[in-house]
């Protein structure tokens, strides 16, 4: 009797301990980065000699960080919107219709999550070269080529999360709407769309984050004077290791964290993902 209680309690402790360990493993680097961003000295060393906000000011002094941030943001937003426009109909088709190659097609849409970014980037680069040679138009290193690349990594997130929310949709509610006088279009807007909205929001959010932080694929797609924030960070780190990068990371963490918190207010992310 007592043995069972002790065993159960020990089990709970072990479980909580494992969870705490995993959480620490994820959070510790973040905590250090945030701490580092406020160090006064240029070469990071412990213990800090003092604290300062000068690295945050330093970001704004360097155009490449501001430009990189702005480019990453623009690409992320445009690619996310395009990813929604393509991914939502794709998820609807996969859910509604039974067609030949439905399984392979569904896997294909999730592929970009599995294929390494370097492979994806190389493939796209080669493709862009071919298109440029074949059609005689500028493709390599253009803004739209970059956006197109990012759409590819956003689509799987949208498809996956919208498909998940479609599974929770009671199809008879659509029939009920039609029975009450709504045609297919109105039924979609008034009944189907509200049901998959959480999936769309979550898919867009994760897609945006994936796009914003993407380094490997983007390396192949950027052009001269047009670099995304992760690439700017990488290039900076090749020459310097001062806490500017930590400050940039803190801003990124804050931005993404804020977006997630706001989203969570409208759509409970834990329920979708």
């Amino acid at each position: 009797m007592i043995g069972a209680v002790v065993r159960r309690r020990a089990g709970r402790w072990a479980l909580n301990g494992a969870a705490a360990l995993a959480l620490a493993y994820i959070l510790l680097p973040l905590i250090f980065v945030v701490w580092l961003a406020f160090f006064r000295q240029e070469i990071p060393s412990f213990p800090p000699e003092g604290y300062s906000l000068k690295w945050f000011a330093a970001i704004l002094d360097q155009r490449k960080f501001v430009d990189g941030f702005s480019l990453s943001f623009q690409v992320g937003v445009i690619a996310t919107l395009a990813g929604l426009a393509l991914g939502v109909p794709a998820a609807l088709c996969l859910d509604r219709f039974n067609f030949r190659f439905r399984g392979p097609f569904s896997n294909l849409l999730l592929m970009p999550l599995v294929v390494p970014g370097v492979v994806l980037g190389t493939a796209m680069y080669v493709f862009h070269v071919e298109v440029e040679n074949g059609l005689d138009v500028d493709v390599i290193g253009t803004f739209y080529a970059l956006v197109c690349g990012h759409i590819v990594i956003i689509i799987p997130w949208v498809v996956r999360l919208v498909t998940a929310s479609l599974a929770g949709l009671d199809r008879t509610t659509e029939e009920a709407a039609q029975n009450l006088g709504a045609n297919r279009w109105i039924t979609f807007w008034r009944v189907t769309l509200p049901a998959i909205r959480p999936g769309m929001v979550a898919g867009a959010l994760f897609g945006f984050v994936a796009s914003f932080g993407n380094l490997e694929m983007s390396l192949f797609l950027v052009g001269p004077g047009r670099t995304t924030l992760p690439i700017v960070i990488l290039q900076y780190l090749e020459w310097k290791i001062d806490p500017t990068i930590a400050a940039v990371s803190v801003i990124q963490i804050l931005l993404i964290g804020t977006v997630m918190l706001i989203t969570d207010r409208y759509v409970k992310l834990a329920r979708v993902v």
Binding site: T173, E175, A176, Q178, N179, L180, R190, P194
Partner: protein, 350 residues
């Protein structure tokens, strides 16, 4: 409200007929129930009336005008779904208002009619709630209010009570029936529950394997079932297999010679209602058929008791007796006497 005409309606999937040549006329204000086991085509028929399934052949006319080729949103049919199909992201009032918005009614009229519809199903004051905050029975009433608010030409009920618990189901049966009478609603309900069908319908349609077996009142179906299937599906029957030797003479496979009414010579089954058979501890008199046998099984059902009596190695009969003070309460193995008039049995030729 309007009359509903279904003419030669059929639905075929490849070689399989889900519905085969169904014709029904439902009068203005009539409550018709489609009854049958699952897969008999009753729901397919209802969905063809609603417009969700396109018929392979035949016509559906509402109030005299042919709606066969109209999409669901152009037919004025109000449907209550088995799962209720309430819009989960809309409040109760928004759910009920949906059909009225589609009809582009002015806001004031919508509010008024939503209120009326909710009052009708005794849910006044629940307008601001979300469907998930309501009990199953309340959700069912919202679904009904939503279907009624559009003032449909015909009300279609697809197993509307099957998700309610037994006690509530009995109350809601009466409630829907009263509402239907009060509003004079032309109604078609689909159910596999014969008790539900018997208590609610003006007229019943028994379906099996895509076809209509019989149309009639409760009494018609019970007293004069047209086929063996109806005899077995509506109420209970014992079927004794055998042969009609000559009109009025039936011999069971177990060798019993019985008096029956009608039947053409040849293979047949004799169907007997369990409560039409007399049973006693002592020999019976004055009945066309008098037999005895051993009690094999007894099941006590509260107001009734079922007694299974072995008449011959091949023939077992179920007899139902009302449980009264001093009534027969035989034990298993005891010999009892049973009997019935020739008119109590019905013969179905095979």
């Amino acid at each position: 409200m309007a009359r509903l005409d279904i003419r030669n309606l059929a639905k075929r999937y490849g070689d399989f007929y889900a519905v085969r040549d169904v014709s029904l006329q439902i009068a203005d204000g009539e409550f018709l129930v489609l009854l049958g086991p699952s897969g008999c085509g009753k729901t397919t028929t209802l969905r063809m009336v609603a417009g969700f399934i396109e018929p392979s052949a035949g016509h559906v006319a509402l109030g005299g005008s042919d709606v066969t080729r109209l999409p669901p949103w152009k037919r004025n049919a109000g449907m209550v779904f088995q799962s209720y199909a309430l819009f989960p992201h809309m409040t109760v009032a928004q759910n009920v208002a949906f059909g009225l918005e589609m009809r582009k009614l002015p806001k004031v009229d919508i509010d008024k009619r939503v209120e009326e519809a909710l009052a009708l199903v005794r849910l006044g004051g629940y307008g601001a709630r979300l469907p998930r905050q309501l009990s199953g029975g309340q959700q069912q009433r919202v679904a009904l209010a939503r279907a009624l608010a559009i003032r449909p030409d015909v009300l279609l009920l697809d197993e509307p009570l099957s998700n309610l618990d037994a006690k509530l189901r009995q109350e809601v049966r009466v409630e829907i029936r009263e509402l239907q009478r009060q509003l004079g609603l032309t109604t078609v309900m689909v159910t596999h529950d014969q008790e539900e069908a018997l208590t609610m319908a003006d007229r019943l349609v028994v379906m099996n394997e895509g076809s209509v077996c019989q149309v009639g009142s409760q009494r018609d179906l019970y007293e004069r079932p047209a086929t063996r299937f109806v005899a077995g599906f509506v109420g209970r029957s014992t079927f004794l297999a055998g042969t009609v030797e000559a009109p009025g003479r039936f011999q069971t496979d177990g060798g019993l010679n019985l008096a029956c009414s009608g039947g053409a010579p040849g293979r047949a089954v004799l169907s007997l209602r369990p409560e039409r058979v007399e049973i006693a501890a002592t020999p019976l008199s004055g009945l066309d058929n008098r037999l005895s046998g051993a009690v094999e099984f007894v099941s006590y059902l509260g107001s009734l008791t079922d007694i299974h009596v072995r008449l011959s190695p091949a023939d077992r009969l179920v007899v139902q007796v009302a449980n009264r003070e001093g009534g027969l309460a035989p034990d298993v193995g005891q010999t009892v006497h049973v009997g019935w008039p020739a008119s109590a049995g019905q013969v179905f030729n095979e």
